[in-house]
């Protein structure tokens, strides 16, 4: 049955900003879906608020709308575009919930838009906890004993039937948001309240805990003729109790016999049929009692998911692409399996002949107040996947791919501690898992714990524990050995277990280069195997590869001219989808220009690791060793390191030293920009200004250096990304604390002291240089003043307050620096502007986080232009010499994970904390900013009472803001000092108690929903600590709040655009 001829146009809803639980896997699936449907000649209409996505590229869909994902906005798009159908299953929970809203509000009916892929009934049955339980009972599948509650009272009733511990799962939330495990009454009440609050239907499920049961996932695809196939089974190493997104997982399932596997397979198919997923991909999660194999079903998602992205990468089967085709009427047997070059159909079950390991990446170090124990609510921000021919090989590749400084199962426990201390530590870390449990498992083996004991503590299947134990025993066997005495067989034996050169170097008290050289001299080199969906049963024309220490290499490198692009590795705060976007664009441009493009990356969520983004894909960790081996094999003309963020840049020097042709800006130029002293010399030569600064190499001299610079200071360790451990200190005492507690300052890792430019306006400029001429990509004026990390600040393109002269001068300075640094490719500059003075804060000769945003705002694909510069095309040859200044305004707004981390202070500062971004587009700044706020999940305050409380430096500025707010009809309340200033200016303002001044105080007002907007600026540790409760309550009560005065002003401007009136098609904006 070919595709439905009645469908001419389709609307796809994206997933919006990257948040914990919903990352770039939905760009991967959405982009695939768009491509697949365009291929069918359908008109594809797309809405997504996230500009850093490939799916929102103007040529991915016919009409792209970068607008807030809200049913009212989507209705406007439907009204304009009149799509025949809506495909809601590609954009995660966000898209699904929005589709349900559209249906409930009657929009779909009104415009006669059919929902394809999943029906409203199917979504409801899968997502509504009670309906789902009943449906499962109907088909004879067990679910854990559970009770539904819509109130705290109902919850207590349920709990009394179950006891403790209990699992709490809110309905219709993603990533287990708002859920958790309660071991006592206090935790229970806490989680229930939060869960009820976060569930759009105010519904939670209180469930018997099956902690410690084995956990599995099945990825299933079904077509409208009821053909069902399993794409992949996944087994979690971390058993039940840890969210699957936070678990180390392995594909395929390892510890099931065929009989047990088939029970699960049958159940998965039965679930899809019962739920009524008509077409497309779904995932079904199971728990299995390790004692007797009893199987219960945990949940199912009637849409593509993070797991389906993983399953696609793990098998080579493009689930989202196939799901999109099925949704428009095809059946599985009519579709081809691309990986085998179309020689086999899509209606089969992939079989694999390797082991895939996924390990999540966490960022608890960014949120020290957060509870770092893993639970049913997802907390990781990224993941790495690795492929190997054995579990050990794939597991150890994944460990080093994490880029958290480990090369394998590095020791993290001090083995000299007393036996009792060790026991206490292991009991805690193994039983209540945190981010590092697997390393504690390894250390417990080192401490002599038995496998049985570790199993008792962790419930990790003995099969996996035995593998880890063997790795530790192998490591022990190396103690006392000398590197030169190893022979080829020994090295080969170790490499087949996945040990990296660096780990071996550590174990042998040597260094990576020595081990690497020895290994190569002994002829122990990896080979590359293909991911082919069929375990080599059919030949594969697709070059999707992974390394392994085996006999036969299947890489078959060509003799074409090649460009290798190094990707960005696992997502983390500060390095995410924006860089993947740049890598994908670089690969596209090089491919368009006739080069063979080769991608190396290890992040399964991304578009860059889609097998057809580049000509060849090596799914490998981004370490020196792994990258160099690919380069040795492929012998590229050039390697691009400047698009993948800090990850590939960190490799640049070593790769260059190893003779690798790095193209674009040279590693030396990169160093020139990053090395404080060299860079300072350059600026002096160019007569450009920097804030006063010094470098402290030890604690003792830091006080005197600080005195020379003058307070307040921005302090940070050198060479960091995302502002790790960056702080603003206001006095010597504060500085002393920072130097002692926050960082370990040494000769090799000094601390940078910069004068903090208070109240300065910050500006980001992205530019491209071909070595001689410079193209300004765009100027972005930050809304938050200097001091807030640029990745966290909202910004406007074009600038909304800067004079033309200042803008002109910024461009001149950028040009001067780009030329002086001999930049070939992208360069990002951060300026601070105080009055008429321009200061250079930072220059990064590489792709920046803002490149996709600027590209969307200007219509110029900066990364592509830059990549072409790197292979020698001048800007003039590319006809890209003129800066594009759009006639509309684009605002980038950041999105934060604070709600996921209970107890964390949602204050902005020099350390980056946002996970993602959205873009608002408008005819005016006010309109664009309002859209940005709404898209980021914020609310534009309705008429009511505003709370203002500002630090002394902002007292002057607060009056204007107060006046504007008053004029908009808001009532004002303030704490003592601020109230006085406002009252003195003749504006009506009530005084309210600070928290420590007695009750009723401001937090009471927030809790009573009496406040609609909070402008609360603070400085100094004690003031920040005092106002913590205000920010946290505001967050929990969804009250609009800002921690900067400029944010308050912008919010005030946005009031005029409370309702979104107009939606803009990106392609039409660009064609102006």
């Amino acid at each position: 049955m070919p595709r439905r001829s009645d469908i001419k146009s389709v609307l796809i809803i994206g997933a919006g900003p990257i948040v914990i639980g919903q990352a770039c896997e939905f760009d991967y699936s959405g982009a695939q879906a768009c491509k697949a449907l365009k291929e069918e000649g359908l008109r594809v209409i797309l809405i997504n608020s996230n500009p850093a996505t490939i799916m929102t590229d103007p040529d991915t869909a016919d009409s792209v709308y970068i607008e807030p994902i809200h049913w009212k906005v989507v209705e406007k798009i439907i009204d304009k575009e009149r799509p025949d159908v809506l495909l809601p299953t590609m954009g995660g929970q966000t898209a699904l919930n929005c589709a349900l809203d559209l249906d409930r509000e009657g929009v779909l009916e009104k415009y006669n838009v059919e929902m394809i892929g999943a029906s409203r009934e199917a979504i409801d049955m899968a997502e509504d906890r009670e309906q789902f339980r009943r449906a499962m009972a109907d088909i004879g599948l067990h679910t854990p004993r559970a009770f539904i509650a819509h109130s705290l009272e109902e919850a207590w009733q349920g709990q009394s039937q179950i006891g403790f511990p209990v699992i709490i799962r809110p309905s219709f939330t993603m990533g287990g948001s708002g859920g958790g495990i309660a071991y006592n009454k206090e935790e229970f009440e806490d989680i229930i309240k939060r869960g009820l609050d976060l569930s759009p239907t105010s519904e939670v499920l209180i469930e018997t805990s099956v902690l410690g049961w084995k956990e599995y996932e099945m990825e299933v695809v079904r077509d409208k003729k009821d053909n069902c196939i399993i794409i992949c089974s996944i087994e979690n190493i971390d058993p039940m109790g840890v969210h699957t997104g936070d678990s180390i997982t392995v594909a395929p399932a390892q510890t099931l016999t065929d009989k047990e596997y088939q029970i699960m397979r049958n159940a998965s198919l039965a679930v899809l049929r019962k739920i009524g997923v008509e077409t497309g991909g779904s995932n079904v999660q199971f728990a299995i009692n390790p004692v007797d194999g009893e199987m219960i079903i945990i949940e199912m998602n009637p849409r593509v998911s993070r797991s389906s992205a993983l399953a696609s990468k793990a098998t080579g089967f493009p689930i989202a692409k196939i799901a999109a085709k099925l949704a428009v009427g095809y059946t599985l047997d009519e579709l081809q399996n691309d990986i085998t070059g179309g020689s086999t159909p899509a209606s089969f079950e992939p079989t694999i002949d390797y082991v895939v390991t996924k390990i999540p990446r966490f960022t608890f170090e960014k949120f020290p107040q957060a509870d770092d124990r893993l639970s049913t609510q997802m907390k990781s921000v990224g993941e790495v996947m690795a492929i190997g021919r054995s579990f050990q090989e794939s597991f150890q590749k994944a460990l080093r791919g994490l880029e958290t400084g480990v090369d394998g199962l590095d020791e993290i426990v001090d083995q000299t501690s007393s036996e009792d201390d060790l026991e206490d530590l292991y009991r805690k870390e193994l039983r209540l898992p945190g981010a590092n449990r697997i390393w504690y498992v390894a250390d417990a083996f080192r401490s002599g714990y038995s496998l049985e004991k570790i199993y008792e503590y962790t419930a990790i299947d003995p099969w996996f524990l035995a593998q880890i134990e063997d790795l530790i025993n192998t490591e022990k066997g190396l103690s006392g050995k000398i590197v030169d005495t190893l022979d080829a067989d020994e090295v080969r034996f170790l490499k087949r277990k996945g040990f990296s050169d660096r780990r071996l170097a550590k174990l042998l008290d040597s260094n990576e280069l020595v081990v690497g050289n020895l290994r190569r001299e002994l002829g122990v080199r990896p080979v590359y195997k293909r991911v082919d969906t069929c375990a080599a049963e059919f030949s594969s024309s697709t070059a999707y590869m992974y390394s392994s220490y085996e006999d036969e290499c299947e890489a078959e490198p060509s003799d074409r001219e090649k460009i290798i692009v190094l990707g960005g590795g696992p997502n983390r705060i500060g390095q995410g989808i924006e860089f993947d976007y740049c890598c994908v664009h670089a690969a596209m441009a090089m491919r368009e220009d006739g080069y063979e493009t080769i991608m190396i990356n290890c992040n399964p969520e991304t578009v860059s690791t889609d097998y057809d983004t580049s000509d060849r894909l090596y799914f490998e960790p981004l370490t020196f060793e792994d990258v160099l081996e690919v380069i040795h094999l492929e012998k590229p003309k050039g390697v691009i390191v400047q698009f993948g963020g800090q990850t590939p840049l960190n490799l640049a020097r070593a790769l260059e030293a190893a003779g690798v042709p790095i193209i674009g800006t040279t590693p030396d130029s990169i160093d020139l920009a990053e090395d404080r002293e060299r860079f300072q010399q350059l600026l002096i030569k160019l007569e450009l200004r920097q804030p006063p600064n010094r470098i402290a190499f030890d604690v003792e001299t830091s006080a005197a250096l600080a005195e020379q610079v003058g307070f307040p200071l921005v302090v940070r360790p050198s060479y960091v990304l995302g502002g790790r451990a960056m702080e603003i200190v206001y006095d010597q005492e504060d500085l002393a604390r920072y130097m002692k507690e926050a960082v370990k300052v040494t000769k090799d890792s000094p601390v940078l002291l910069d004068r903090f430019l208070d109240e300065a306006v910050e500006v980001d400029v992205d530019a491209i240089c071909d070595g001689e001429s410079v193209l300004i990509g765009g100027l972005m004026e930050h809304i938050e003043q200097a001091g807030v990390h640029s990745g966290d600040s909202a910004c406007s393109l074009p600038p909304y307050t800067l004079s033309a002269e200042i803008q002109q001068e910024l461009c001149v300075q950028v040009s001067a620096m780009a030329k002086a640094l001999k930049v070939v490719g992208l360069m990002n500059t951060q300026f601070a502007i105080k009055g008429d003075d321009i200061y250079i804060l930072e220059v990064n000769p590489r792709a920046s986080r803002t490149v996709p945003f600027v590209s969307k705002a200007t219509g110029m694909a900066l990364a592509k232009v830059a990549a072409r510069c790197m292979v020698g095309q001048t800007l003039e040859q590319q006809q890209c010499t003129k800066q594009v200044i759009p006639d509309f305004v684009s605002v980038k707004e950041s999105v934060f994970p604070f709600a996921k981390f209970h107890g964390v202070d949602p204050i902005l500062g020099p350390e980056m904390k946002s996970t993602g971004e959205v873009m608002g587009i408008g005819k005016s700044f006010a309109e664009a900013f309002a859209k940005g706020m709404i898209a980021a999940g914020g609310v534009i305050p309705k008429p009511g009472t505003v709370f203002l409380s500002v630090r002394d430096n902002d007292k002057k500025g607060v009056v204007d803001l107060a006046r504007s707010l008053h004029a908009e009809g808001f009532n004002l309340v303030s704490t003592g000092g601020t109230a006085k200033v406002i009252q003195v200016a003749g504006i009506e303002c009530k005084q309210v108690n600070k928290v420590k001044e007695g009750r009723p105080h401001i937090v009471d007002m927030i809790k009573n929903d009496e406040i609609v907007l909070i402008v609360n600026t603070t400085e100094g540790r004690s003031a920040i600590a005092d106002s913590y409760a205000i920010r946290r309550e505001a967050l929990m009560h969804s009250v609009c709040y800002t921690t900067t005065l400029s944010g308050g002003r912008a919010t005030c401007m946005a009031m005029s655009h409370r309702e979104i009136e107009d939606v803009y098609r990106l392609q039409s904006l660009h064609s102006h």
Binding site: I230, E260, F348, D353, A466, F538, S539, D551
Partner: protein, 384 residues
């Protein structure tokens, strides 16, 4: 340290690995199976007689072995080739390790070789004769000799090699998680099953549907079977080439003269087709896996099937009285036929799965539907 082992192929390729079974040398046809689960079922499947099976999934032995997952009493594969025997088996049903199982059953097996390289070789060159030699005194020449002197499977009648010597009754139903295997005294219908190398699960699935099952040796004559007054005759799977099994082809032809429903699987399917006048062919490397899509040509439905065959029926040779009903979506090869004027049909793959997906199980129901129709007709004829 494990002892060394080598695998030699007729084309001269040598793989060096380690022994995971007993010392010795064995030869056979080297084939690969891409199923990721079910190694114990595969090893004990009589259809693997004289074959050395390569399992493409690298870790084999993860769940150990148990008394429930065997398709026959013995291991029938001549040898086993895998990438890695895990350090530890883990499963609540496990009763021992795969390594011990191989040793106790006297099987020669090799691990730690690049099984993907081997698979690609078999895919490109076709199934190869080969030999595994394991132990301390390995000789490449001896292994190569053994590989090259293996006669191959074409023209080999292996059904009578693996078939039961005596008839017996079967009364176990299929395994379930809750209650394992159960005894059932089926009385609804009597089915006589020819054992050409039958897998246990086929018998269980017949019992599940209420049949009394009598298993008879491969060479049992049609007359003997008909004297047992069966309501249905089942033709089992089995190893080797169907062509030399003349006794079976003749017996089937005779049974087809009656109106007794006949259902054949795998070798049974080939024999049924041959009995109707079709021709069989040796395939390049056969179908061995648990992920093969097969399409029902009438309904368009696609089923994921378990497959294990090195010979196939040439669809072009089908006589008019046989209608092709299913085809493989991998290579378009014939997967099933139905007789146009007899209640007889057969399937090339494995509806009994074990290992593999259960999608094709409804074919057993079809067999019973045919039996039911036939029985009712007989009853009404008698009444009339």
């Amino acid at each position: 340290m494990p002892k060394p082992a080598i695998l030699a192929l007729q084309d001269g390729t040598i793989f060096e690995g380690s022994s995971i079974g007993v010392d010795g040398i064995i030869s056979g046809e080297v084939v690969f199976n891409t199923a990721m689960t079910g190694y114990q079922e595969i090893l004990t499947d009589p259809s693997y007689c004289r074959q050395i099976v390569t399992l493409t999934y690298p870790h084999i032995g993860n769940t150990g072995v148990n008394g429930e997952d065997e398709e026959a009493v013995d291991i029938h594969a001549s040898g086993l080739i895998i990438r890695d025997l895990p350090l530890r088996a883990s499963n609540w049903r496990s009763q021992g390790s795969l390594g011990d199982y191989l040793v106790n059953r006297n099987v020669v097996a090799i691990a730690d070789i690049d099984t993907r390289k081997l698979t690609r070789l078999l895919r490109d060159k076709g199934a190869q004769n080969g030999a595994i030699m394991a132990g301390d005194n390995i000789s490449t020449e001896a292994a190569l000799d053994a590989a090259r002197s293996f006669a191959g499977l074409a023209g080999m009648d292996l059904a009578q090699v693996v078939s039961t010597e005596n008839s017996y009754e079967w009364s176990n139903s299929t395994w379930s998680l809750q209650s394992g295997y159960q005894q059932r005294n089926g009385s609804r219908f009597h089915i006589v099953a020819y054992d050409y190398g039958i897998k246990k699960n086929i018998l269980c699935m017949l019992v599940d549907r209420g049949a009394k099952v009598t298993v008879v040796p491969a060479q049992t004559s049609a007359q003997t079977v008909l004297e047992m007054q069966p309501d249905g005759v089942f033709l089992s799977n089995g190893p080797g080439d169907p062509e030399p099994c003349v006794y079976a082809i003749e017996a089937i032809a005779e049974i087809l003269q009656t109106d007794i429903p006949v259902f054949g699987i795998c070798l049974g399917h080939q024999l049924l087709c041959l009995a109707c006048g079709a021709k069989s062919l040796k395939m390049k490397f056969g179908h061995h896996g648990a992920n093969h899509p097969v399409q029902n040509l009438d309904s368009g439905e696609v089923m994921i099937t378990s497959q294990n065959h090195g010979f196939t029926v040439d669809e072009n040779s089908l006589p008019e009285k046989l209608r092709a009903t299913h085809r493989s979506l991998f290579d378009g090869s014939l997967q099933a036929v139905h007789h146009i004027d007899r209640p007889a049909f057969s399937f090339q793959g494995h509806p009994e799965a074990s290992p593999g997906p259960h999608d094709v199980a409804p074919l057993f129901d079809h067999f019973f539907e045919l039996i039911e129709v036939q029985t009712n007709q007989v009853v009404s004829a008698r009444k009339a």
